[in-house]
Symmetry: C2
Subunit: 424 residues, 2 copies
C-alpha cells in the first residue's frame, strides 16, 4: 500500500508476485487436508486475536473515505465493527470445515484392456482476485483459494487498502502456523491501477484464472482486458413468473421474498411476470406496493392499482438492487420464457405454478445458471445450495456456472493405472 | 468459398452467421436425443451416397495444392480416398451412437428445507471450430457439436475449402432429414483470413467457445487473439520415466510403443527419462536405435551406445512428431518430476516402475492432463478412454482438461424444485 511504485516498477513487482505464487502453488497442490485446515483455523484465531488492529486499520480507511466524500453505501460496505470481524473469523472457520475438494476421485472406470482410469480433482494453480471496497473479501477469497489448493494474488480496492492489509497479515500468520508457504496468499502492495491492467493482460504465465468481485463496471473492465480466463458474474436481472396455475398465497410469499428479503443481493428478483389468467396477479402487485416496494408496470399492471408507475423499456433490463420491481403481464409460459431470453442476464429465474407441465417447460427452456420451481430466487447462494462459502455466482457457461465454491476453483487430471499395457 | 468478400463485408457476413447460429442453438438445446441421432445417421448415409462428389471436390483442392507446391505431408493430410470417406461416415455414426450428454443429471441432492437441487448438463451454445487442412475435421467436429446440442460455425483452411464444403453439404442434409435447423452446422463461406480474426475478437455475443484444431502456430494465434473462451491444445511434449524399479521388458515395450506406434500424434513420447540405477536404461536406448529411432541423449546416454547423438537444451522442449527421441539420465523420481515440470507441456506422462510409492509420487506430483503408471502415453485419446470421439486433448486446466469429447462440450445448469420455500 505504502510502497511508492512508478509505472515502470509495476511489471517487476507483479512478476515477482507471480513467480512466488507459482512456486507456492506447486507446494500447495501437495499440502495435506489437515495442513490447510490448520492454516485456516489459525488464521481465524489470528483475526479474532488482532481484531483491534484490524479495526484500527479500518478506521484509517474510513477517515480517508470520508475525506474523499464516498457515498453512504460505499462507507457501509467498507466499514468493519467487532461483529463483522467476528463474522469474518467464523467465515474462515466454515471454509476450514469444508471437505477438501483436492484429490477427490470424481469418476473412475476400468477399460476392457484393464486400464483403470480415474478423474481426480486438482487445484487450478494461481487465482487472481480483483475486488472493490469490501475488506472481508480478503478473508473469504483467501480462505476459499487456500482450501481449494490454489495460490492467490489478491488485489483489493484502494479504499480498503489498510483494512485488507491488516486482514491479510492474519491469513499469513495462519499459513506460517501450518508451515505452508507465505506466498500462498499474497496481496498486491500497491494501489496503482496499472497493477490491475498488468495482472489481466501480462501475467498469463503466472495466473490461471481471475475472479472479479464487484460491480458491473469492474467485471466489464476485467472481461474486456483479461488475457487470462475469467470466472465472471455480471449481474442478476432475476425473474419470477407467476403462472396461470399458481397458488395465490404461495405466489405472494415467493415474490415478496424474492424481491424484498434483501434487495441488494444478486439473487433478488428484479422483474415479476404475471400470467393474465392468474388470480394471483393483482394480489401480488398489491402486496408488493403494501410492503413499500415501487412497482413499474406495463399498462395491464397499471390497471391493478393506481400506485403502479409506468414501466419503460429500460426497466426490463435493470438490476435495481433496491425496493423497485418491474412487472409485466404475459399470456402464457412461452411468453414468459421469451421475455426472459430477451431481457434476462441468465442468472436465476423462478416459476410459481401447480402445473407440472408448465414447470418442466420453464425449467428446461430457460437458459439460466439457476432455474427454480415454487421457490424464491433468493436461494441463489452457495451456502443455500449446501456448497459452503462461495466467491460469487457465475453467469458464464464456461468452466463454472452458478455458485462458485471450492469445487469450482479446481480442475482435474486423469490418473491411469496399468500393468504394462501398450496401444495396439 | 467462391463468395467474393471484401474486408468491409466480413463483419456483416460473420454477424449473420452468428445470429443464425444463436437461433439454431436455442432450438438444438431442446432437440431430442432421437432427433440428433437421426440427423447424424442421415448425414453418414449422405456422405456415403455422395462419396463421388466429395472425392471430386477433393481433387480440386489437391490440384490447387500441387500448384501451390504444398508439402507431401500437407497433401497427405488433405487427400481423401474412398477408404477415408468411408472412415468419415463411420466416425459420424460412432458419434451418433454415443449417449446424449444433454439433460443428464450429473448430481442431485436434497437440502434440509426440502429443496431438491439437480445439476443438469446443457449445451455450451455456439462453438467455433478453426482448423487447417484435414477435411475430415468438418465431419468430426460437426458431429460432436451436434451430439452435444451446440450449434457450430466451422472455419476450415483454404487448402481444403472445396472438400469441406462438399462434406458440410451432407451434414446439412442430415439436419434437414431430422427437421433440425440447417444453421446448426454452418461453414464460413469465405477463405478470407480476416474472417478468423473477426470470429476470435468480435463475435463474443454469438460464440461461446472456440476450439482450434491444428498446429502450434494456429493454436497460438487463436489464444493470442481470442476474446471468446478457447479450449486449446498446444502440444504434447510427452515423457516416459523409466524408474529404478522398472521391469526391463515392460520398460522396453512401453517406451517403444509410446514413441514409435505412431510418431505424429500428440500422445507420442518425445523424451525418455532413465533412472541411473535401472537395468532397463541401456536396453531401452538400444531397442529404440535398433527400431530406427534417432536418440538424442545427454552424456550418460551417449555412453550407452555410439549411435546416440548429443542432445541440446532445445531438445528437451521439442515435440518432434517424428522418429526422434530425447533421452536423459536422472537420479530419482524427484529429478524426473522436476525435468517434466521444467520442460513438459502438461499433456501426458508415464512412469514405468514396480515401486508403488514411486508411482504414487509421480502420479500425484506431475501436473499433466494425463499421468499413467505402467502404460503407454499413446493411450492419450478420447476413444481409448472410452469417451467416444474427441475434438482434441486439452492442455488447459480451465473448463476441459485431457480428451475433449461430447461431455466436455457441455455446461450445466441448476434445476431447483420446491414446494413454496422462501429464504428465511
Amino acid at each position: 500500500m505504502n510502497a511508492a511504485t512508478t509505472a515502470t516498477e509495476i511489471p517487476a513487482l507483479m512478476d515477482s508476485l507471480g513467480r512466488a505464487a507459482t512456486q507456492a502453488a506447486r507446494a500447495l497442490a501437495q499440502a495435506t487436508s489437515a495442513q490447510k485446515r490448520a492454516a485456516l483455523e489459525a488464521a481465524a484465531q489470528a483475526i479474532r486475536a488482532h481484531a483491534d488492529a484490524i479495526l484500527e486499520a479500518n478506521r484509517l480507511d474510513i477517515e480517508q473515505a470520508k475525506q474523499r466524500e464516498l457515498s453512504g453505501a460505499m462507507l457501509d460496505r467498507l466499514m468493519l465493527n467487532e461483529a463483522r470481524v467476528e463474522g469474518m473469523a467464523r467465515g474462515v472457520e466454515e471454509v476450514a470445515a469444508l471437505d477438501d475438494p483436492v484429490g477427490v476421485v470424481a469418476a473412475e472406470w476400468t477399460r476392457p484392456n484393464g486400464l483403470l482410469i480415474q478423474r481426480v480433482r486438482v487445484p487450478l494453480g494461481v487465482v487472481g482476485i480483483i475486488y472493490e471496497s469490501r475488506p472481508n473479501v480478503t478473508a473469504d477469497a483467501g480462505a476459499l483459494c487456500l482450501k481449494s489448493g490454489n495460490a492467490v494474488i489478491l488485489r483489493g480496492g484502494s479504499e480498503s487498502a489498510h483494512s485488507s492489509r491488516a486482514i491479510h497479515e492474519r491469513l499469513v500468520q495462519g499459513l506460517r502456523a501450518a508451515e505452508l508457504p507465505e506466498a500462498a496468499i499474497q496481496i498486491v502492495p500497491t494501489t496503482d491501477r496499472a497493477a490491475v491492467g498488468y495482472m489481466l493482460a501480462s501475467m498469463t504465465q503466472y495466473i490461471d484464472v481471475v475472479v472479479p468481485r464487484g460491480g458491473r463496471s469492474l467485471v466489464e473492465r476485467v472481461q474486456k482486458e483479461a488475457r487470462v480466463p475469467v470466472i465472471g458474474h455480471l449481474e442478476g436481472n432475476c425473474h419470477v413468473y407467476v403462472d396461470r396455475a399458481a397458488d395465490v398465497h404461495m405466489a405472494q410469499q415467493i415474490v415478496l421474498n424474492a424481491k424484498l428479503r434483501r434487495t441488494g443481493i444478486c439473487g433478488a428478483a428484479e422483474t415479476v411476470l404475471l400470467n393474465r389468467a392468474s388470480a394471483a396477479a393483482p394480489v401480488v402487485i398489491k402486496a408488493l406496493l403494501d410492503s413499500g416496494c415501487e412497482v413499474r408496470g406495463d399498462e395491464e399492471v397499471q390497471r391493478f392499482d393506481p400506485r403502479v408507475k409506468p414501466a419503460r423499456e429500460e426497466d426490463w433490463r435493470t438490476e435495481y438492487l433496491d425496493s423497485i420491481i418491474a412487472a409485466r403481464v404475459v399470456g402464457d409460459v412461452e411468453e414468459a420464457i421469451e421475455h426472459i431470453a430477451a431481457y434476462g442476464s441468465a442468472h436465476t429465474e423462478s416459476i410459481v405454478t401447480n402445473d407440472a407441465q408448465a414447470a418442466e417447460r420453464f425449467l428446461t427452456r430457460v437458459d439460466s445458471a439457476i432455474v427454480l420451481h415454487n421457490a424464491s430466487t433468493q436461494f441463489a447462494d452457495g451456502g443455500e445450495f449446501g456448497m459452503g462459502a462461495e466467491i460469487g455466482i457465475s453467469t458464464d457457461k464456461f468452466h463454472a456456472r452458478g455458485p462458485v465454491g471450492v469445487e469450482q476453483l479446481t480442475s482435474y487430471k486423469y490418473v491411469v493405472r496399468g500393468q504394462g499395457q501398450v496401444r495396439p
